[in-house]
């Protein structure tokens, strides 16, 4: 990256049109992301017709900033109402919601916005330097390597499932099982669909997330209250923000206390994010798991502890920018959002590919700079959003609960425009309620649902290539290294569990602190 290119790209980005597009995209993304159940993909798809009439860079800038903002803003309903915006944010929804229940909503949201922005900035910075190189490396990843990464993601579950790994395991397996419903890609035939046409389309994770997290929480709150509340009742369940903090207050102190978490989260996010298809969703989960593993206070995880939240949110946004690298360099989109962006690039006569970097390096550089600006905007817009979010907490319970329920309904309908989504949400809500009462954590279900297909399709693809020979997973050098690493992690985890179990005097009762 020559300084001249950088300056020229900066000049391109600092045009009124581009800056306006970034601002407009950010405000729009903030709005969509904050609505429970609406996804960044939907936000982006809706922008496409608008980009028909725009110049190339503003068009891309619009998409870049709206997705960055929508994904970050998805953490707002996650923290306040326990409705995660993306599967990635499901990794730390429990954590931020626990902070809200404690009265630390502003702090949880501040952490979300601040460290997302920081992760995004550092990630974009790293991309400016290593982008094409990173793309070259990511292109060498085949289904063999992706399979090991998926296993690594599942291991993260062992670290987020509290002190009862068996029940966490059951949750994960149930999620995986739900993911197997639908048309199977190996045979092209229906699996576990019981003749239902709707089930042949599979179960999408948005209604499951809304049901398991938000709806079950409402059922729990309603059924646990023993008398009819009267108007003006205090809110015993969702305490209003008692510690009147300003947004971002005390965040710098957190940064100084956990610099390693930020660094680890960002580098994990940036490198995993560059892997098309799996990176983005996995990064936050693995980061959260890693954080718990290396923390000095792992017992505080899941109860409103800042450390894991910091690491996972920074990983989330760092991964967001690097997901664009394989899309820009090789035209291989990692997710629906970058797929749309690649389409818009083509439409604007900016065909992605290495030639883009060689012949016209200002364009990809300008796109990465748009990430920079969009992430910078997270600070002021985050400030406004957090102030506004406090209003949500001030709404009385008998108004906010019906509102959340309507949003649950609408969000699960909108994902695929079918009432079937609402049915899934209701069933998932009941299931989530029962599971929590019996000490089964919820987050692993979402992880299983997201990772199940990744694990399966990459395993089966690999075995079709290796003709059923399991040794194929150690044939390719990168795959072999990953495989040995994953097996070592599993072995060490099991060993330490056995050592702990053999140590006398340890209470063997399942941890029920999250059941209340």
């Amino acid at each position: 990256m020559s300084p001249a290119t950088l300056l020229e790209s900066l000049g391109m980005v600092l045009q009124v049109q581009v800056l306006l597009a970034i601002l407009g995209g950010a405000v729009y993304g903030l709005f969509i992301g904050a609505l429970p159940g609406l996804t960044a993909t939907m936000a982006t798809a809706l922008l496409v017709p608008l980009t028909f009439y725009m110049a190339p860079l503003p068009a891309i800038a619009l998409i870049v900033s709206s997705t960055a903002m929508a994904i970050t803003a998805g953490d707002i309903p996650g923290a306040l109402l326990r409705i995660p915006g993306t599967p990635a944010s499901a990794a730390y929804t429990e954590e931020s919601y626990a902070m809200t229940r404690r009265g630390d909503a502003v702090r949880a949201l501040s952490i979300g916005f601040f460290f997302s922005a920081l992760g995004g900035l550092i990630g974009a910075g790293a991309l400016l330097v290593t982008g094409p190189l990173l793309a070259r490396v990511s292109l060498n990843f085949s289904s063999f390597e992706f399979f090991w990464l998926a296993v690594l993601g599942l291991l993260a579950c062992a670290l987020v499932s509290g002190s009862n790994p068996v029940k966490g395991g059951v949750s994960l397996v149930l999620g995986v099982l739900v993911s197997t419903v639908g048309l199977d890609i190996t045979t092209g035939q229906p699996r576990f669909t019981f003749g239902s046409l709707e089930l042949m389309g599979g179960v999408s994770f948005i209604p499951v997330m809304i049901g398991m997290f938000a709806f079950s929480e409402i059922l729990r709150g309603l059924s646990a209250k023993d008398d009819t509340p009267r108007p003006g009742d205090g809110d015993g369940d969702r305490p209003a923000d008692t510690r009147s903090q300003r947004p971002f207050q005390g965040i710098w102190g957190l940064f100084r206390r956990y610099p390693l978490s930020v660094l680890r989260g960002t580098s994990l996010g940036a490198s995993l994010g560059a892997l098309p298809g799996v990176g983005g969703d996995l990064a936050a989960w693995i980061a959260y798991g890693v954080s718990a593993r290396f923390s000095k206070t792992p017992e505080r995880f899941g109860k409103g502890h800042e450390e894991g939240l910091i690491e996972a949110t920074s990983a989330n946004n760092a991964g967001l920018s690097s997901a664009w690298i394989p899309a820009l360099v090789f035209g291989i989109p990692g997710d629906a959002v970058t797929a749309i962006a690649v389409g818009v690039l083509y439409m604007k006569g900016v065909a992605p590919g290495p030639r883009l970097f060689a012949e016209n390096p200002t364009m990809p550089t300008a796109i990465i700079l748009c990430f920079f600006v969009a992430n910078l905007l997270l600070f002021p817009l985050g400030y406004v959003a957090i102030r506004a979010a406090r209003l949500v907490l001030a709404v009385p319970r008998n108004v906010i609960v019906p509102m959340i329920l309507i949003c649950c309904f609408l969000g699960s309908f909108a994902i695929n425009n079918t009432l079937f989504g609402v049915a899934i949400m209701l069933v998932a809500g009941l299931a989530g309620y029962l599971m929590e009462r019996n000490g089964f954590p919820i987050a692993p279900v979402i992880l299983g649902l997201v990772l199940g297909p990744v694990l399966e399709s990459n395993f089966i693809m690999s075995m079709q290539i290796a003709r059923g020979d399991l040794a194929g997973f150690f044939d390719r050098p990168v795959s072999a290294v990953l495989g040995v690493f994953v097996i070592a992690v599993i072995a060490l985890t099991i060993l330490s569990r056995i050592r702990k179990a053999l140590r006398p005097g340890r209470a063997d009762r399942p941890d029920t602190s999250y059941i209340q």
Binding site: F141, S142, G202, G343, N417
Partner: protein, 327 residues
């Protein structure tokens, strides 16, 4: 049903219109009076979605009512294709259908058959191409086929799920060349993006997908597009030879994108949309958009489109039977 009265002439039409107006239903002559839903059976961001949104925004301009694109995904297009067929036939739900709609029946999947639609018109058709890794030991389609023939099992191909069109195009070609389709391993993948990643990483040897999708990898020097599985050259890729030229085979599975409605939509609505679609495909802006994405514009009117679908359906069913994919 209203549409049956339609063909008997204007008198019947007027009567039906009056009858409908009297029962507070929408008067047909004024279609569209409200927003029209356009169902797309594939996810947001894909090629079908992009073209559908372009068509929808042009329709919106022509008719002055919103044409809302709705993605009904899942089941390899089955869910969305059935949703189009099962929507109310009032003209307020249209859909973009793709070649997969002609394959479900032969695969033994319930829900929808080509007879369940009222066809409106085709706007796009692009052949599938054979793409190989840049560092393969051969550099053209003959070399590839020779390798498959000489060393069964050495070549792994991918591009879609088992039974997907990409798979069918590839094994159909092998079948026409008297090669056992099992001689090249089919690696079932979830669409062409993961398959191209596999190709670039050196894990597989062939990806059958549209030349547009492989373009960036080809530019990067990681892959090479060697032939179109078609009998006609493409206007967008005039230098690409076809398998018919190379091998003299008669195998041309042509994926299409077209507008359809549920069976029984009133004929005058179909006519209106058909005319509008024709105008859209003649619009230079639309053509420029399609070309920029590597999509060709290939308009067919309702009758021709229906004939194309029928013959495609029969050809594919035969190919699936010979490949052992039909149920």
């Amino acid at each position: 049903m209203i549409h049956e009265g339609m063909s008997r002439g204007r008198r019947a039409l007027c009567l039906a219109g009056i009858a409908l107006a009297a029962t507070a239903g929408p008067a047909l002559a004024d279609w569209p009076e409200k927003a029209v839903t356009v169902i797309v059976p594939w996810s947001a961001g894909g090629g079908t979605d992009a073209t559908a949104r372009a068509v929808a925004s042009e329709l919106e301009e022509k008719f002055g009512q919103p044409f809302n694109v709705v993605n009904r995904t899942g089941g390899g297009g089955l869910v969305g294709h059935s949703a189009i067929a099962q929507a109310p036939a009032d003209g307020y739900t249209l859909g973009v259908i793709t070649i997969e709609s002609t394959m479900f029946q032969a695969q033994g999947l319930p829900g929808v058959t080509p007879a369940d639609y009222t066809y409106i018109g085709r706007f796009n058709a692009d052949p599938i191409a054979i793409n190989i890794a840049a560092d393969a030991g051969y550099d053209d389609a003959e070399g590839l086929i020779e390798t498959v023939r000489a060393d069964p099992g050495a070549v792994a191909a991918s591009g879609a799920n088992r039974g997907g069109l990409s798979h069918l195009a590839w094994i159909g070609l092998l079948d026409k060349l008297d090669i056992d389709p099992a001689a090249a391993t089919w690696v079932a993948s979830d669409g062409s993006a993961p398959a191209l990643q596999q190709l670039a990483s050196g894990a597989i040897d062939v990806v059958s997908t549209s030349p547009a999708e492989a373009q960036s990898l080809v530019d990067a020097g990681e892959a090479r597009t060697v032939a179109l599985i078609s009998s006609e050259r493409s206007a967008l890729y005039p230098d690409l030879p076809t398998t018919t030229e190379i091998f003299g085979t008669d195998w041309s599975p042509l994926p299409f994108r077209g507008l359809a409605a549920p069976k029984g939509v009133p004929e005058d609505i179909v006519g209106k949309v058909e005319t509008a679609l024709k105008e859209i495909t003649e619009d230079p802006d639309f053509q420029a958009f399609m070309a920029s994405r590597g999509f060709s514009v290939a308009y067919q009117d309702a009758a021709t489109f229906e004939a194309t679908v029928t013959s495609s359906s029969e050809g594919l069913a035969a190919a699936m039977t010979s490949a052992g994919l039909a149920q």
